[in-house]
Point group: C2
Chain length 190, copies 2
Amino acid sequence: MKLRDENKINRIYKATLTLVKQNGLAGTTMQAVAKEAKIATGTLYIYFENKESLVISLFNECIKESAAVVFKDYEMSAPFKVGFRTIWLNVLKHKVSHFDQTIFLEQCFHSPFIDDNTRAEAKKLLLPLRELLERGKMEELIKDIDTFWLVSFMIGYANEIAKRITYHKKKLTMETLDINFQICWDGIKA
Amino acid sequence: MKLRDENKINRIYKATLTLVKQNGLAGTTMQAVAKEAKIATGTLYIYFENKESLVISLFNECIKESAAVVFKDYEMSAPFKVGFRTIWLNVLKHKVSHFDQTIFLEQCFHSPFIDDNTRAEAKKLLLPLRELLERGKMEELIKDIDTFWLVSFMIGYANEIAKRITYHKKKLTMETLDINFQICWDGIKA
DNA sequence: TTTATAAATGAATAAAAATTCATTTAACTT
DNA sequence: AAGTTAAATGAATTTTTATTCATTTATAAA
């Protein structure tokens, strides 16, 4: 009996991300995904019921992976600014190094595949970040404004930098990180 | 002789924007566009050779409109911060009030329809903004870092706010504008 | 009015993409 | 080594979407 190859799912995911980055969700066909993943078209349908299912599974995978990365190396006990920097750099580095995921997620939010419910679920993963920001406000280190705007600011900015770096073939050097974190910190600090 | 109705083109554009915001470029069919614009499918092809042509025309239209808006009410003679605020608010207000365009442009950048050349042309429209920022650096009012990052920051942030406001059904009140401009200004000021 | 001209229509066709399935292949069991 | 099972294949089919075109309708000029 031939065993189902879990690794193949990753090949399919990878292929999908590559193609969506290149051509958008609009321009990505199942045939193309299969070809890119070096499998037959039919094989795709062994692993995923249909295109919608593939997109939704990959969406959840990306959300999960991205959430896992945010709090890497974060120490509750460290000073607020240190913790904030760690998290912001985690977000930025991840968005740059997995840029295809960044674009895929963006495309998903305006696709017929992802509904409001899925969107809402995805949002929940940012809860720990919101808590960190509440702490910063408590300690009077950052502006006392609706956390909503603070989150928008740090995530949105990281997103934009990731795009710019990729499109303009910039490198994510330590200098680049420092410059941008400085802007980010000055923006939110009290 | 029946005259070609230029206004119909706007109806088609409007319909396309509405549908792309809802379903993405992926989920937007010519049939659906025609129906939304309340015309027959065939009529669409009188005005646009094919789907690609429709998308590219609309892309150029959006870019043009957005460029026209940026410098509204801007006075060269005003102090730098005043000018900067005017422009930033113009960008933000436009992105919020024409959110369908914001999304359409975003989708275009990852579609098979828009090529690198078109992208580069679009970028040129930000030139006056770059010049303003150079002036700010000269006057030592803002951070002396690559203009590239400053533009990323102000445009990217406006983009993100527009998304957040729309998705979370927030209103663009004067308070909201002030809060966010404060963050933006603190971020770039020297 | 009548005629000429171009726009508008939408069903028909072509093209592209999604999905299926009969057949083959690979890996495990006895 | 033979038998069994499930994965893999890719051509064939179905479904969806883009595009065409013969016909109708509206407008302007004669």
